[in-house]
Amino acid sequence: MVPEPLYETHRAMPTLTIRYSGMFDFDGLFTMIARWFKEKKFWYEEHTYKHTLAAPFAEEEIGMTGEREVTTFVKFTIDVTMKLWNMKETTAVFKGEKKKLLTGRIEIKINGAVDIDYQKWFEKSKFWRIVADFYYRYIIKKTIEEKWEDDLFNLMSNLHSKIKNFLEMGAR
């Protein structure tokens, strides 16, 4: 049996959370996030879409994932989950033009992870697992923790601030 790795190969980043209550352009927000994934060269997919109607309001849950291959050995994953409550459609003048907007509460969670050896090259035998642990802990530790993890966290923070700017939140 291949032993458990001593060095964590799925390096999860801390979650970034945004909660907003009020009026917002949801279609615009959705398009902005999808465009951001494409701009940053992520392979983007929408994996969850739930819509519940509890009259007079509606609830929605949307999940999107973006994956980017950094090298053939390392992969970045960013997961965005949006939950909407007390949703109601309204028409209002937004930035000089009439638009369909939503009023309600929204919660956006941004999760990310750096996956090392995502193609499982080093998981073939006990020997390769020991070699991999040595490689991670003594040779590329600094690259993992000070380059790849920082790069991914910077990307997550960039998306986080873009969302805050889009929602025109006070503290941004």
Partner: protein, 165 residues
């Protein structure tokens, strides 16, 4: 779970009056980068109410002192009833915010955040033994470091809100 020790407990600052919300946020982020803290914003909540905007921000900035010691701050900022106002300053109109602010800062020292010595009970016991007996000097040194950082931030915030009077 890495061991986390509370060093500074609930250092509180309150302010009510005029301030620039965006400038405050920028000032805080700048302080983190100049003091080598990673600015991790765990939560940013905004509620629009009849009395203005209520904003809650939870920040967990951290600084890795060594591979064994990590300093963490927990900053909870509550803005209540924030309203935009226009004020005349040196004959020019400036957009500011008016409201109530409460900032609570906690300081923690986390040891062994890589969890390497926590795989087995015996290893954890030796880690504790070394932390409490042999490396006590270092533990105290980094406890002081996070304490200093927390008070430095507190001073900077007081300076921002012009509370030195």
């Amino acid at each position: 779970m890495p061991e986390r020790t509370l060093i500074v407990d609930h250092l509180t600052l309150t302010y009510s009056g005029l301030f620039d919300l965006n400038a405050f946020y920028r000032y805080l982020m700048e302080w983190f980068s100049t003091n080598h803290f990673v600015p991790y914003e765990a939560r940013n909540e905004e509620l629009t109410t009849k009395n203005g905007k209520d904003i809650i921000i939870e920040l967990l900035p951290y600084k890795k002192y060594t591979d064994h010691f990590k300093g963490i701050m927990k900053i909870e900022i509550n803005f209540v009833g924030i309203k935009p106002v226009e004020v005349e300053k040196h004959e020019t109109k400036v957009k500011l915010n008016k409201g109530f602010v409460k900032i609570v800062i906690d300081g923690y020292l986390e040891t062994e955040y890589e969890k390497y010595w926590e795989r087995r009970a015996t290893l954890f016991f030796f880690k504790l033994l070394f932390d409490k007996l042999f490396f006590k000097r270092y533990t105290l040194m980094y406890e002081n470091a996070i304490k200093q950082d927390v008070y430095k931030l507190y001073d900077a915030l007081q300076h921002f809100f012009n509370l030195y009077k």
